[in-house]
Amino acid sequence: MVEVKKLKKYFVLRGKGLWGKKYFVKAVDDVSFFVKEGQSVAIVGESGSGKSTLIRCINGLVKPTSGQVFLDGESVVGLKGNEYKEKVAKKVQMVFQDPTTSLNPRLRVFDIIVEPVLAQQRVPKAQLVDLVNDLLRKVGLDPKLSDRYPGELSGGQCQRVAIARALSVRPKVLLLDEPTSSLDVSVQAQVLKLLNELRQTFHLTYIFVSHDLGVVRNVAERVFVMYLGRIVEIGPTEEVIDQPLHPYTKLLIESIFYPDPNVEMKKPAIVEEVETTMNAGCRFRNRCPFSTKECEIYDMKPLEASRDRYVSCIKWEVMERWSS
């Protein structure tokens, strides 16, 4: 359904001074994966991992430096205008992180929701009204809210409107960029529940971006862990969280604070900072307790660890034995 092949996005920056050398920030560095129709996958990573850039390459908001993106078998990189509308906008829509900036504060909810529809074709007003009312009900909002402005709604309500807008063109895939990170905890659960229901109702495919493994556990079947632009681990959600194979994934899991008062305060395993300027070899090696000389030339390609499990680490078997 959605396939990404050798995707790269490099940003060009200039070094210090008048004659600073140009250098690249490799936001996304040779990423390949695919998502089957109807699946729900999560891309997990911290800031600088490239996850947000990656999904924006999928729906064309960011133009990749190289590589390909396929939707339903068709290549969609660099499309514009009507072709973009036909092949991308109709099939993939996005829900953004911050509900307050993802809705135009000067437009009414009604106009916000119908904008994607009207961008594709002219639709008579009566039909639009029906569509909006139907969508609002489906996302758990009162249709009377269609007259309001985003400023009059709460964060959770705004996010539901954003979801309604994304669904207005009946896409097959939803890209969700940390949709609950800006919401209160009590509202998060509501929105996640809604998203799960909608996926069943509309047979959608979800690509979630998140840094919160609690959210990921509850919405995604499959997880891709990213670090500095590369995928480091792939697998079913429960397996990756309960038995992480890559040292970075282990670090992520160990850093979580569980809402359990009986767990003692643990000292963090690694204190070194992220090193972004490494260009060759495994990017994680400066923080990895298991790294050796070989890690300096390893190109971080995912290795198959078992059925449906991939790790980008040449030492994973060693660590498996070591920790078990």
Binding site: D184, V185, E254, Y258, V274
Partner: protein, 319 residues
């Protein structure tokens, strides 16, 4: 244990174009010396303004009633300056905007030391190495000369903590200090705060909405909702016996990565903070609401040892 900070029936109202916003209503609680108190609540519950009112950093349109005591003495306009930045230090959420981008780290640390201890600049400069190492910034030479934008978010926050500790405060207020940081960095920063507190025994008022952090960091927990304290208890007691319906709802909503379980959400939404309200502030969303809840405002009362709750459900058990 003596009382470091004490709030006594403290209320805070903001006068705005849209009416009076009652941000805090009748707050009464204590922070003892040497303990970590977590102030938990969601957006708009008033946790940040509670912290700001201890040091008097409130906007002009704020009007207060009730009292705040620091080390037994009532805090007012004149003496608040003696505790601000000296006895009480604060670390804010966003390290990027809390540090001045135009000055180097060294200059900003020196500023803090000079104004707090009234020592000459040269003497202050000597102390910087020690301060930075304390917060585990070991590359001292580079960091001293660096400007804020040259450091990562985690490093900036460590600098903020160093600045706060340079004052050798009795109370450190941390207002969601790790919300803007990555998960792995968060663990480092929180462990740092925890370790320093265990060593130096200053009190910490830790403001957060993350129950995971509360579970591991706090000694005591204060739960706030829409400007009121609804429950207050030692950490383990709160997690095992949440008495207030809001607290149990909130605990329920915390997502645990170890389990796949979507909780029952708390229905409804926050009430408006303008306008007078009799009765319990949570009644419109409460699953166990009773007749009295609409008429009588529940008071915070000790229902089990050290466990306070403001809810009519536990009226009979009040001591």
């Amino acid at each position: 244990m003596n009382e470091l900070v004490k709030f006594e029936n403290y209320s805070l109202t903001f006068k705005t174009l849209y009416g009076d916003v009652r941000a805090l209503r009748n707050l009464s609680f204590t922070i003892n010396s040497g303990e970590i108190v977590a102030l938990v609540g969601e957006t708009g519950c008033g946790k940040t303004v509670t912290a700001l009112s201890i040091i008097g950093l409130l906007p002009e349109n704020a009007s207060q009633t009730g009292k705040i005591f620091f080390k037994g003495i009532e805090v007012n306009h004149e003496n608040v300056k003696r505790i601000r930045g000296k006895e009480v230090a604060i670390v804010f959420q966003d390290p990027t905007s809390s540090l001045n981008p135009l000055y180097s780290i060294e200059q900003q640390l020196v500023d803090v030391l000079v104004s707090r201890w009234d020592i000459p600049k040269s003497e202050a400069k000597e102390k910087i190495d020690g301060l930075l190492r304390q917060v585990q910034l070991f590359d001292v030479d580079r960091i001293r000369r660096a400007y804020p934008h040259e450091l990562s978010g985690g490093m900036r926050q460590r600098v903020m903590i160093a600045m706060a500790l340079a004052c050798e405060p009795s109370l450190l207020i941390a207002d969601e200090p790790t919300t803007a940081l990555d998960v792995t960095v968060q663990r480092q920063i929180l462990y740092l705060i925890w370790e320093l507190q265990r060593a130096r025994k200053f009190s910490v008022l830790f403001i957060t909405h993350d129950l995971g952090i509360v579970a591991q960091l706090a000694d005591r927990v204060v739960v706030m909702y829409a400007g009121n304290i609804v429950e207050m208890a030692p950490k383990k007691e709160l997690f095992s016996n949440p008495l207030h319906p809001y607290t149990s709802g909130l605990l329920n909503c915390a997502l645990d990565p170890r389990k796949k379980k979507l909780p029952e959400p708390i229905p409804g939404s926050l009430p408006s903070l303008t306008g007078l309200l009799d009765g319990c502030i949570f009644r419109e969303r409460c699953g166990r609401v009773q007749n009295d809840c609409g008429i009588l405002t529940p008071e915070l009362a000790e229902v089990r040892p050290s466990h306070f709750v403001a809810c009519h459900l536990w009226r009979e058990q009040r001591g």
